[in-house]
């Protein structure tokens, strides 16, 4: 186990450097000169501009700039934005809300998706199954931002059950609707994965054996069918956490939530390369680590999977 974990962590190292290099290169390509823009219409004194560039290593070649950035990551000194706000503070302010939103969405899609998928899979071809297959098709077809507006209009504005926008420092209630909108598409995938997986497992020999030795239906379903059907679902959910945090850019726009997406779009508009890179880098790290966590969860779900060999 420890050996496997070590190997996987080692494998993450090139991915980490590659992904950050790629993001850094993309941001490097962004047009415009933010330093020249600092001076406004009057323009910036040559000397001052040169000093700011030297301070931020902007006069160095691309790779050197990147290495300075990596050094910054490891010393937790991400530099400052052009209006002298520490980038670390920008990141630390933006993340809690988005993490909360993404985790709520993940919980919604996992619980709802597995529950409906289990019932649909056990009674494959029945009314429930057919209904939810159609529901899943429709939900996948409606983009997240459209889903957001539809929920906002009907539940937030027409019915007034939940606050239509979240604003700063939102609580559970104001994040509930955004989380549902964010979770919708993934919910459909979880439902479909669970359904197929449950159906396949329920025809397996060991399920027949379990039924034959007199276990109650409830125990067969919960201990034999469900647990053995969960591996593809857990794989999807693990990869989805990162995708949800990325997709939050859109949801946050619709519901006016001040999280990562909001900060990222603002940083892009204000041409703040250091903030953009840092915000995306943290997302990439979340993504990599949640995938690793999923791989470790396999052993808990299926004792046949072992990591030492």
């Amino acid at each position: 186990m420890a050996k496997y974990l070590g190997k996987r962590l080692l494998q993450l190292i090139p991915v980490f450097f590659g992904a950050t290099l790629l993001i850094y290169a993309l941001v490097f390509l962004m047009p415009g000169d933010p330093i020249a823009a600092l001076g406004g219409d009057r323009g910036l004194n040559e000397e001052v501009a040169a000093r700011i560039r030297a301070e931020r290593h902007l006069d160095q070649p691309f790779l050197i700039q990147y290495l300075y950035y990596i050094k910054g990551i490891f010393t937790l000194d991400l530099g400052t934005t052009l209006n002298a706000r520490p980038v670390l503070e920008v990141v630390a302010n933006a993340y809690p809300v988005t993490v909360k939103l993404a985790l709520m969405a993940l919980a919604i899609e996992a619980v709802m998706g597995v529950a409906t998928g289990l019932i649909a899979g056990l009674r494959k071809g029945g009314v429930f199954d057919s209904t939810f297959l159609v529901v899943s098709l429709v939900v996948i077809a409606v983009p997240t931002f459209v889903m957001g507006y539809v929920l906002q209009f009907f539940i937030g504005v027409k019915l007034g059950w939940l606050p239509p926008t979240a604003g700063t420092d939102p609580g559970f209630k104001s994040l509930l609707m955004p989380a549902c909108a964010l979770a919708a598409v993934s919910y459909a995938y979880v439902l479909r994965l669970t359904r197929v997986s449950v159906f396949e497992t329920s025809t397996a020999d060991f399920v027949r054996t379990a039924t034959a030795k007199g276990l109650t239906r409830h125990r067969v379903v919960s201990h034999h069918i469900l647990r053995n059907s969960l591996i593809p679902v857990v794989t999807f959910l693990g990869a989805d956490l990162g995708a949800l945090m990325g997709g939050a850019v859109v949801t946050e726009g619709v519901f006016n939530i001040h999280g990562v997406g909001h900060a990222l779009l603002q940083a892009i508009r204000q041409m703040e390369p250091s903030a953009v890179v840092s915000l995306v880098t943290v997302l990439v790290m979340v993504y990599m680590l949640s995938n690793l966590l999923v791989d470790l969860l396999y052993a808990a779900l299926d004792p046949r999977i072992r990591y030492d060999s």
Partner: protein, 333 residues
Amino acid sequence: MTRDHSRAADSRGPADKPPSKQPAARQDHFFADPDEVVLGAVDTFDESRPPSSLWSDAWSSLRRQPLFWVATALTLLIIVVALFPGLFSSADPQYCTLTEHLEKPRAGHPFGFDRQGCDVYSRVVYGARASVTVGLLATLFASLIGTVIGATAGYYGGWADSILARLTDIFYAIPVILAAIVVMQVFRSRATVFSVVVVISLFAWVNVARIARGAVMGVKNADFITAATALGVSRFRILLRHVLPNAVAPIIVTATTQLGTFIVLEATLSFLGLGLPSSIVSWGQDISSAQANLRTDPALLFYPAGALALTVLAFIMMGDAVRDALDPKAVRR
């Protein structure tokens, strides 16, 4: 192969093949109905039938799926609208007069007018082109990139595989939407349909690459590949003529499934103001501008959003049907 056999047994049923072949002396033993045992399928397999290929199999199973026909009809309609929008709307989507600001629907203008006084119906019709073009081209390019990278990694193995696998991991770790947002910023207002296509394909080839790698690795140890190698066929030719044609089914399935996702991605980028420029009519932009009047005129949002959802639905149903037909492991209803 078992799938072929069971299908043959299914379609003809036990009635075609009376059990007269069984030796009479063994008749008093119990015989399961051929349909009830897996081996029954083997017994009833008709060898005189011409061998069916994966494609003819897939076609015969597609033909019997209502889902496929609904998806085909919808897809064809949407493609015709995208190709010849003039057939469906005589109004010019870019001709807007502010005096028509938020006018209600009337004859000739069934969906009414938007905030700028543009005819909503004609904008919905003309918006199809951008979505369909981006979806199809991005799927084509992403599949090409993914297949080349995945097939090379899977077929040659060794250090080529290690390097390409890490490259795939790197692109996998960056959510497509985030990368696209950052890159589209480079194009700013100079964005065209083609730049959106390039950006999506550059970051979305990973899924196809992973599938292609697995499929190629599954095929490359087959006996007929060994035979081709023994005959002295060059490695590259084997990859092109023998391995790829046998690995292409899962690649097609992944590509079809992604088409809808790419259309959503384009709409999302346009919605964020980072996609197509305003000179191109697109649903994403129309949804974004209708949002300002959501509380008073929700219909303005629902027309382009409905068109977008219907298009994505058509392509997703198509993907589902193709997957069921091409994937032998898929559970049949």
